[in-house]
């Protein structure tokens, strides 16, 4: 594997660069020298590339187009505020221990980019490699786990198998009583996995992209995609028409809506996915722990909140909220595995709309329309892919040809049938 081209570092010689010196300077002059992290740009008439969707993936795409490919006449159009979609709603689990070779390559590419990304962007993303542990609760799950661990290892990705005692040592609040309804029989750990601060990812990419001249345009909703023949020409927005020969759609749950604007249909269903945090408490759990059989996952943020999630609601929806039963099941599971959390209190619950493909793998693809590209279908688990997704999507837009990592995720797989079915991998899918 060749080294990843991480591109030109952002804000290298900029006066805006964050440094100890800048911090000290500002500490003594009332912080009046900090400038805008990114300009509140208004749309210009035309761009080389327009990215629709100011989530992590869209912003990362713009950043890598600028830093790796030198394309800097770019606008990122966001209908609300950047990071306000799933990027700012997710539970930030990052790992690359996927089953299939194609997924492993993609998510490992992302994980390698995560490592060092704070420095690339000159923005502390609080990327924390605290380890992600996946539990097995039955003979069947133990066997599945062994298959997965062997595959992960042979793909050159780190993975360790733990027995219940080792799990207890790592996660002291877990109940490993063999009499549990679904006893903890084992688990596998990716130490390089962990979490990051979701908002910071959007802001860090935005600030770095802005430094290269990328226009980040908020409150700018795309309402139509214009084309001449089979070539796109621009987008209609609530801030007027914007011309572009290349358009990258990175709109997660609303991808289907954008596709419809271009007369395309995507094999995507959009559903609510919920998560919640507890009140902050002193640290009780350092590792991210996921369980399929006892359906939920848990981690603790640097602020002290327990962060919990589970599966999607069963129905399709564009409303960014879910139903109560999902929350109840999630919390029953929490008490089952971690009895001490019973008196800890839920602070906030919320939902996001996740875009899921039939094979639970993303779409990174050209379309039948020239200059129109889609990056979507990340469903319940795309945050971890953010840098990798942006990196390969930028490459696809710049060269109009997918690279080896992106190629398997083309739309054509739904015609050929070359699906990358990560459903098994994604029972609790993060």
């Amino acid at each position: 594997m060749s080294a990843i081209n991480r591109g030109v570092r952002a804000l290298k010689n900029s006066a805006k660069r964050y440094s100890l010196a800048a911090l000290a300077r500002n500490a003594f002059n009332g912080h009046n020298q900090w400038t805008e992290a990114w300009r509140n740009a208004k749309p210009r008439e035309a761009y080389d590339v327009v990215i629709i969707g100011g989530g992590g993936h869209g912003l990362a795409t713009a950043y890598y187009l600028a830093s790796v490919h030198g394309i800097r006449n770019i606008a990122v159009l966001e209908k609300g505020w950047i990071g306000g979609g799933n990027t700012g709603r997710n539970t930030t689990i990052i790992r690359s221990n996927y089953l299939w070779d194609e997924s492993a390559a993609l998510y490992e590419h992302a994980l390698k980019l995560w490592e060092g990304l704070s420095q690339d962007l000159n923005f502390n993303l609080m990327f924390s490699q605290r380890g992600v542990l996946t539990l097995a609760h039955s003979e069947h799950e133990m066997k599945e786990m062994s298959r997965r661990v062997n595959a992960i290892r042979l793909n050159g990705i780190d993975s360790e198998v733990l027995n219940p005692m080792e799990i207890k040592a790592l996660v002291p609040i877990i109940d490993i009583n063999p009499g549990l309804r679904y006893p903890v029989m084992g688990g596998f750990l990716q130490k390089r996995g962990g979490t990051a601060r979701h908002d910071a990812v959007a802001w860090g990419y935005a600030r770095a992209a802005d430094d290269f001249g990328v226009d980040i345009i908020q409150n700018c909703a795309v309402t139509a995609i214009r084309r001449e023949g089979d070539q796109v020409t621009g987008v209609e927005t609530n801030q007027g028409f914007i011309k572009a020969a290349k358009i990258g759609c990175v709109a997660s749950g609303h991808s289907g809506v954008l596709a419809a604007m271009a007369g395309l249909r995507l094999p995507i269903e959009s559903r609510p996915l919920q998560a919640l945090v507890s009140e902050p408490i002193k640290p009780v759990i350092d590792t991210v722990v996921m369980s399929n059989a006892v359906h939920m996952y848990i981690s603790q943020s640097d602020k002290g909140e327990l962060v919990l999630g589970a599966g999607t609601d069963a129905y399709n929806s564009y409303a960014q909220r879910g139903s109560l039963p999902i929350i109840e099941h999630m919390l029953e599971a929490a008490v089952e595995l971690y009895p001490i959390v019973s008196r800890v209190r839920v602070l906030r619950t919320w939902g996001g709309i996740v875009d899921t493909c039939p094979d639970a793998s993303p779409i990174i693809s050209k379309t039948s329309i020239k200059g129109l590209y889609f990056n979507c279908g990340w469903g319940t688990g795309g945050f971890k892919a953010t840098p990798g997704s942006g990196h390969v999507f930028a490459d696809l837009i710049a060269r109009d040809t997918p690279n080896a990592i992106a190629a398997p995720f083309a739309l054509s797989r739904f015609e050929s049938g070359h699906l990358i079915d990560e459903h098994g991998a994604a029972g609790v899918a993060h």
């Binding site: 100890l20 800048a22 400038t35 069947h140 595959a151 640097d302 019973s342 839920v346 699906l419 079915d421």
Partner: protein, 1003 residues
């Protein structure tokens, strides 16, 4: 009352006849029943109870209710300890213990309070700008940050308490038991409608309880409240729930509420649940949730002793407690004058009222006039610019406001104060209304957001609708309650509004941040998260312009109070920094729960043994009595193997497998999914769902079928029997039943509604014993005299109905072991009787019960697949070598088109093969990956993996199945299995290891 130096001689709703003891930070204090922890602490002169989250500055009791941001305490110890409780909501009981949290080593000497001296290095968002050098060190920095973060501590033991779920349907749900809510309830209840009233506090009346001497219909307001509650409680269709907080407002008026049953009792009686989590479906909802007072934003406004003006009044009037002996009142509105009057009534000293408004704009108000009449000194057009005192306020400095209110000028006046009562106006509690997706509008005159367009069937009344007068609350409460009752279908006349003397109040002056030109202390906006006005301005300066960005960058409004007292101030300061109008900046979303709710309350009874039901078969007692070990299979517990004496698992399984092929084995197959399929189009439906043909299956015959997903991948399998022309009995895999039933319903309801066919789950209705082996027929013959078991009458895949052991039975001659085999289905209630009869009659054939492990081995010997083991959603029938079951000539079936896709036709797809370990004694690990080219280290190209692998006593060696790329072209090749602890080798074979021709089916 020397014990409680700040307790007034009279007043309040406390029980003065009893004194109770409690400890705070290890010190013993006294209070009265009816106190909250906060009121009792104040009665003892204790304001300083905690420290700020970031700078660790001393913090005091700030409010008197749910909006308290500062006084978060750890209650109790041991398994019932609870972190982050607001002292203002904790009912005092005898023996209560509480401590400050997140301080070390103690509240007074908290080491982290050094943060306040280096605070200049810690502006909003400083995390994002630092801790990046050197790159490798973040994890270390983070470790320190994590230790410093968090508030209180979780218990270290299991929760000893129980929680209950309650469900109710009501015509009208009234949220809030203040004057507006009670009026609404009276009106709605009078119609006979089914009404529920919830009140978060222990007592009803809301503001009436502490607003002082008001009259309703000529009687003291408190008496009106008591009478109203008594009247409601006496009505059969009315449910009155005190100590119940509505926490969530979901679609279609689905409401959740938390009732605290025992939290206010020191000793939890064992027969009571701790909390009840209500789920209420209401035809109509009346929101009467009141309003929350806003603090003023001025320098060092976080010092202990600085409180909300209404809270000061509540402590005086409801608890007979004096928060300070010398109070300064700082206000921008008339309401705080009520606090001045209350203090004056209690003969407490009021140093002065500092009013941000010009005298001319205030004097016409009744309350302002009353204060003047009592000779209370008032500084109009003045602001507090500095505060003295550290762990307790000792005084403040005030200056006059310049013309436009953006600067202060003139001489400084110093005022003595051990308490500052501030009021920045009121914000209606619109949180639930927002949760229900109602929209808000900005009321410029009252400077607050009020409900605008409702999305659900809901109406807001009283202060939560921006109607702050008592008269208005009563009048609109009655109206709202009446309208809601009518909208729910009830009839009746609206009662007349009670008489209340009107009070003239003058508008407030919205100065969102006191000018900073003459002072420099921190001006806190969000007290819990230590966010200052400067932080909000910095966020705007750095381009975090959206209110959501500001919120996330500064963390304002993200504390456990969800910004109750800070949101509007933060928004206004942001608007000012952006030079925008407040409503144009927008609001943030309120998310359920309204107030923090214990995880245990959401979980309810579904914990421990009731987490998820264990499914077991009717024969389960026999398995237990006969020493079976069990295995989890989905929700089922299935007998895994039956060790005899000191047998190991391997020995037991070997014995069971041999017996099943030489004598007679018996398996409890009751867990197999069973779906009754009926209707004139049942056969046509099956013909479309399964890959093979079903139209011509004769009545009384069975057929094996494969179901595919639309992607052409194997989804489930099983044998289905035709019981009648229009009636089938389908079996599915044990784990897949529910999903298959869903699948059938989905196709039937959404794609082929024209087909008349109905599905019923009958898994639980039938118990199944499967007997197999050369002696199976002999055994069955002994127990059945009305079923002809001959090959001619009951051939392979034949079905008969009759009696077995005198029990009504359906006998299917089908086989998952490759042996002569019968599946005997009886109604569940006869399952155990059937099993014991078979065991008794089988004794002479040495009948051997076998479990799921042997079942797996036996079918693997024959190369039969198990869906979910040989398949994983990426496997076609062709991959499994099962093309024979795909009726490619059939017009269509689910998945057919996908089988024709290029990828489905690739020659190098992963195909099912056998694997024979080079060392026959070695059982290849299931899940091992297979490679052709072994490399010294990863990465390596994988061909596939071992799906099933066992030691087979019948074959005398280990056997395995695997899915391998281009597998069938590799027959005879040697492959490698690299494992973490060494490598194994194996030879690729056909995936049948025993009786490959299938000659044993007939015994």
């Amino acid at each position: 009352m020397s014990h409680q130096p700040y307790r007034l001689a009279s007043g309040g709703h406390i029980d003065r006849d009893h004194e109770i003891e409690f400890t705070f930070n290890g010190r013993l204090y006294r209070g009265h029943p009816g106190d909250t922890l906060a009121s009792a602490l104040l009665a003892n002169g204790v304001h300083f109870v905690g420290r700020g989250f970031k700078y660790h500055r001393p913090r005091g009791i700030f409010a008197a209710g749910a909006e308290e941001p500062n006084a978060l305490i750890q209650l109790g110890h041991g398994p019932r300890t609870e972190p982050n409780l607001r002292a203002t909501q904790v009912a005092l009981y005898d023996g209560l213990t509480a401590t400050s949290q997140n301080v070390w080593p103690s509240l007074r000497f908290d080491l982290a309070s050094v943060n306040q001296w280096v605070s200049r290095f810690l502006p909003a968002g400083f995390y994002y700008k630092t801790f990046m050098w050197p790159a490798s060190q973040w994890m270390r920095y983070e470790h320190v940050i994590r230790k410093a973060a968090g508030l209180g501590k979780a218990p270290t033991d299991r929760d000893p308490d129980r929680y209950e779920k309650m469900h109710d349907h009501v015509d009208v749900l009234i949220v809030g038991g203040g004057p507006a809510g009670l009026a609404a309830a009276l009106a709605a209840a009078a119609t006979g409608a089914r009404v529920m009233v919830t009140e978060a506090k222990a007592g009803f009346g809301g503001h009436i309880c502490f607003d002082g001497a008001q009259q309703i219909d000529g009687q003291p307001a408190a008496e009106w409240v008591t009478a109203a509650v008594a009247k409601l409680q006496a009505m059969p269709e009315v449910t009155v729930l005190p100590r119940t907080t509505v926490t969530g407002y979901y679609d279609h008026n689905y409401i959740t509420a938390l009732e605290r049953v025992t939290d206010h009792l020191g000793n939890t009686p064992t027969h009571l649940v701790r909390q009840r989590f209500w789920k209420i479906r209401a035809k109509q909802v009346v929101l009467a949730t009141g309003a929350i007072e806003r603090p003023l934003v001025f320098a060092d406004n976080d010092r202990p002793g600085i409180m909300l003006a209404s809270a000061v009044r509540e402590y005086v009037n409801s608890y007979g407690v004096l928060p300070g002996r010398e109070t300064v009142i700082f206000t921008n509105n008339d309401d705080a004058y009520r606090t001045a009057l209350a203090l004056d009534d209690a003969h407490a000293r009021i140093t002065a009222i500092v009013d941000l408004r010009a005298e001319a704009d205030a004097v016409a108000g009744d309350l302002v006039a009353a204060a003047r009449d009592r000779g209370i000194k008032t500084y109009f057009n003045h602001a507090i610019i500095a505060v003295s005192g550290h762990r307790r306020v000792t005084g403040c400095s005030i200056m006059e406001l310049a013309e436009d209110g953006t600067t202060v000028t003139g001489p400084v006046t110093s005022l003595v104060a051990d308490c500052i009562a501030m009021s920045g106006g009121w914000s209606p509690s619109v949180h639930l209304f927002s949760q229900s997706r109602g929209t808000l509008s900005w009321d410029d005159e009252q400077a607050c957001f009020i409900p605008d367009v409702a999305h659900e069937a809901t109406v807001s009344v009283g202060a939560s609708a921006g109607d702050f007068s008592l008269a208005g609350a009563l009048k609109n409460g009655l109206k709202g309650g009446m309208e809601a009752a009518r909208a729910s279908g009830a009839k009746g006349r609206q009662p007349a509004a009670p008489k209340v003397d009107p009070v003239t109040e003058m508008p407030l002056r919205a100065i969102w941040q006191v000018p900073t030109n003459a002072g420099k202390g921190k001006q806190f906006v969000d007290f819990q998260n230590d966010v200052t006005a400067a932080d909000i301005r910095l966020a705007a300066q750095e381009g975090y312009l959206s209110v959501e960005h500001t919120k996330r960058y500064t963390t304002t409004g993200m504390g456990t109070d969800q910004g109750r007292t800070s949101n509007v101030n933060a928004l206004a300061i942001l608007a000012n920094a952006r030079d925008a109008h407040i409503p144009d900046v927008g609001t943030t979303t309120f998310r359920p729960p309204l107030e923090p709710v214990a995880i245990g309350a959401f979980a309810g009874r579904a914990v421990g043994g009731q987490f998820e039901p264990v499914r077991s078969t009717p024969m389960d007692p026999w398995h237990h009595a006969n020493g079976a070990t069990f295995e989890h299979v989905g929700q089922w517990m299935r007998a895994w193997y039956y060790p005899r004496g000191s047998e190991t698992m391997r020995e037991a399984v070997d014995r069971e497998c041999v017996a099943a092929r030489t004598g007679v084995g018996i398996l409890d197959a009751s867990t197999l999914g069973k779906i009754d399929v009926k209707g004139p189009d049942a056969a046509e439906f099956l013909n479309r769902i399964y890959t093979n043909g079903w139209l011509k299956l004769a009545v009384g015959r069975a057929r094996y079928g494969l179901m595919l997903g639309e992607d052409g991948m194997v989804k489930d399998d099983g044998v289905t029997v035709r019981l009648a022309e229009d009636h089938f009995h389908m079996t599915t895999t044990t784990g897949g039943t529910a999903a298959v039933l869903d699948w059938l319903e989905e196709w039937s309801q959404t794609e082929w509604p024209d087909l008349q066919v109905y599905f019923t789950s009958v898994t639980e209705q039938w118990a199944v014993a499967s007997i197999c082996g050369p002696k199976a027929r002999d055994l069955l013959a002994e127990l059945s005299d009305d079923i002809d078991l001959s090959d001619a009458a009951l051939p392979f895949m034949g079905v008969s109905t009759g009696t077995v052991a005198g029990l009504p039975a359906r006998v299917f001659r089908i086989s998952f072991t490759g042996e002569l085999s019968f599946e005997i289905n009886v109604p569940s209630r006869h399952g155990l009787a059937l099993w014991t009869a078979l065991m008794a009659a089988g004794e002479k054939y040495d009948i051997t019960p076998y479990g799921t492990e042997s079942m797996h081995v036996l079918r693997a010997e024959k190369g039969f697949i198990i869906v979910g083991q040989e398949t994983d959603g990426s496997v076609t029938p062709g991959d499994l070598g099962m093309d024979w079951i795909v009726a490619s000539k059939k017009a269509d079936f689910v998945g057919k088109r996908s089988l024709a896709r290029t990828d489905s036709l690739r020659a190098d797809r992963k195909q099912l093969v056998g694997l024979l370990s080079t060392d026959p004694e070695v059982v290849l690990p299931e899940g091992a990956q297979v490679v052709a080219d072994l490399k010294p280290a990863p990465p390596m190209t994988m061909l596939g993996h071992v799906t099933s692998s066992y030691y087979s006593a019948n074959c005398g060696r280990s056997i395995a199945m695997a899915l391998i790329a281009g597998g069938r072209a590799r027959l005879g090749e040697t492959v490698h299995l690299p494992l973490s602890d060494g490598n194994l080798t194996a030879v690729v074979t056909e995936p049948q290891f025993f009786d490959p021709k299938g000659e044993r089916l007939n015994g």
